[in-house]
């Protein structure tokens, strides 16, 4: 790895499990799901993850005009991450970058606009600026006064993994001194859920316990729960973090990217394996040095098998040194924000030396042949490196690698 070493010094979450990173991680370690039943007239029952969010804690009513929920969540998560990093005004504003991933952008605004038009009414004049996919990044930039690169990545489920990679590279190259990398998604709307139901990728609600509906790597899995939320991390050079005495959660060690270039939705083990190999190579790590994989793990019948096959192909005989979990079983699939939330969880796993589990993953599917952590989290005192995988519709695969600090 060349260039400056990049470390994570702040985390901010607006997640289905809440907004405090330590509490969220504790809930995950206990295997507690935040997925709930979602019912609306005319909509087949669904399970979703929603964020309890009071926008007026972050914006005045006037500031909220023309600001979609996706941007509100992004600003709240980014501002939380900045506070967590104890980031003072010592950075020149043109040396600050904002990198945001989002799949759909302002889904609620688009929905309202079409609903108004269908009813013969006019759409709000702010429909375009509220719904554009780069609105969250722009609002974060205005909030923190970032005058450097402010960019948006829309790569479906890998959007915010792409944002983190870009942010880390910009710091590594010395283009900027500090970055906010954020993912945000806010599409828990009946029309959007219907569209996903039509694609047959969503989990069937469990009649007895809706919170247990998403079952990655289990024989009876049926898909994922759509979720909303935002997650942000502050990335800066190690030299600067140390000079200001910042708490360092973990270091970004590298990333691997590939595209299946085969099918829009069907995952491909070869494509995923290429991203995994590149990630290890760029991080200078051997497979047996990586102790945890926060899997993409969407609990679709095909996806989980393909992912396990890709891990086996790369890890080979070292597969038993790896522990794998899909925390989507508990927080759902945040789509464009999934990469950022799961990267934050991966960073917390390294910081806490604990590996969160896959919930509701029994009975195990023997076709998912990887060492899956199921039920409850486990202590991992020797954990030194971990990966977070994001495999997107469209075929883009992104694997982020983080290293633990030598001592805390």
């Amino acid at each position: 790895m060349s260039g400056r070493e990049v470390v994570v010094t702040g985390l901010g979450l607006m997640s289905p499990h809440g907004n405090d990173a330590a509490t969220v991680f504790d809930e995950l370690m206990r295997g507690r799901s935040a997925i709930r039943l979602f019912e609306r007239p005319g909509l087949p029952s669904a399970v979703v993850g929603q964020v309890e969010f009071d926008a007026t804690q972050w914006f005045s009513r006037l500031q909220l005009v023309g600001v979609d929920r996706v941007s509100q969540l992004a600003v709240a998560a980014s501002e939380s991450a900045r506070r967590d990093a104890a980031w003072s005004d010592q950075y020149a504003s043109e040396r600050i970058g904002v990198f945001v991933g989002s799949g759909m952008g302002g889904a609620a605004t688009i929905d309202e606009g079409y609903t108004a038009l269908a009813a013969g009414k006019r759409a709000s004049p702010l429909t375009v600026v509220a719904s554009m996919v780069n609105a969250p990044a722009a609002h974060v930039a205005m909030r923190i006064k970032a005058h450097g690169p402010v960019l948006t990545y829309s790569v479906a489920c890998a959007s915010s993994a792409a944002a983190i990679d870009a942010a880390a590279r910009a710091v590594q190259e010395g283009d900027i001194d500090i970055a906010i990398a954020c993912g945000s998604e806010a599409l828990i709307l009946p029309n959007v859920i219907r569209a996903w139901q039509a694609l047959h990728t969503l989990a069937s609600p469990d009649a007895d316990d809706p919170s247990a509906s998403c079952r990655p790597f289990a024989a009876n899995r049926s898909g994922f729960a759509l979720s909303e939320g935002a997650a942000a991390m502050v990335l800066e050079s190690r030299a600067h973090a140390e000079s200001r005495g910042a708490r360092i959660y973990a270091a970004w060690a590298g990333s691997g990217m590939s595209c299946d270039a085969a099918h829009l939705t069907k995952p491909d083990a070869d494509g995923q394996a290429r991203a995994l190999r590149l990630a290890l190579q760029r991080s200078g790590l051997e497979p047996n040095e990586v102790g945890y994989c926060n899997a993409h793990g969407t609990a679709t019948p095909i996806g989980d098998v393909v992912e396990c096959n890709a891990l086996r192909a790369v890890w080979g005989e070292s597969i038993d040194t790896l522990r794998v979990s899909s925390t989507k079983s508990m927080h759902g699939h945040l789509l464009g924000a999934a990469g950022a939330l799961e990267a934050a969880i991966t960073v917390l796993a390294l910081y806490e030396k604990q590996i969160p589990p896959t919930a509701h993953s029994h009975p195990a599917d023997p076709a998912c042949a990887a060492p899956i952590v199921r039920g409850q989290g486990v202590d991992a005192p020797d954990l030194t490196a971990a990966i977070s995988s994001s495999f997107a519709f469209g075929g883009t695969n992104i694997v982020l690698v983080f290293r633990a600090e030598a001592s805390r």
């Binding site: 005045s60 009513r61 006037l62 005009v65 006019r122 004049p125 600026v129």
Partner: protein
């Protein structure tokens, strides 16, 4: 309720601006509207009063806005 009072109520409901801070002489930019929120306010006014305000309408203050609304409404009736 006068048109001015209705405008003040609308601004309070939509933007959370305290009614006590709004007088007939308050200018549209004085209580924090930028060019985008101003467009949204005009849209809300048009929807609420059933009028159409021209892009080049000469509106400085809330009093001007209320007067214009009254003119447009009476023109519509006649």
């Amino acid at each position: 309720m006068t048109t001015f009072d209705e405008v003040v109520q609308l601004i309070h409901e939509k933007f959370g601006v305290e009614s006590g801070n709004l007088s007939p002489d308050t200018t549209l930019t004085e209580f924090g509207l930028d060019s985008l929120t101003l467009v949204e306010l005009i849209f809300a006014i048009e929807e609420h009063f059933g009028v159409e305000i021209a892009d080049d309408a000469d509106i400085e203050s809330l009093k001007d806005l209320a007067t214009l609304i009254d003119e447009l409404r009476s023109a519509k009736k006649s």
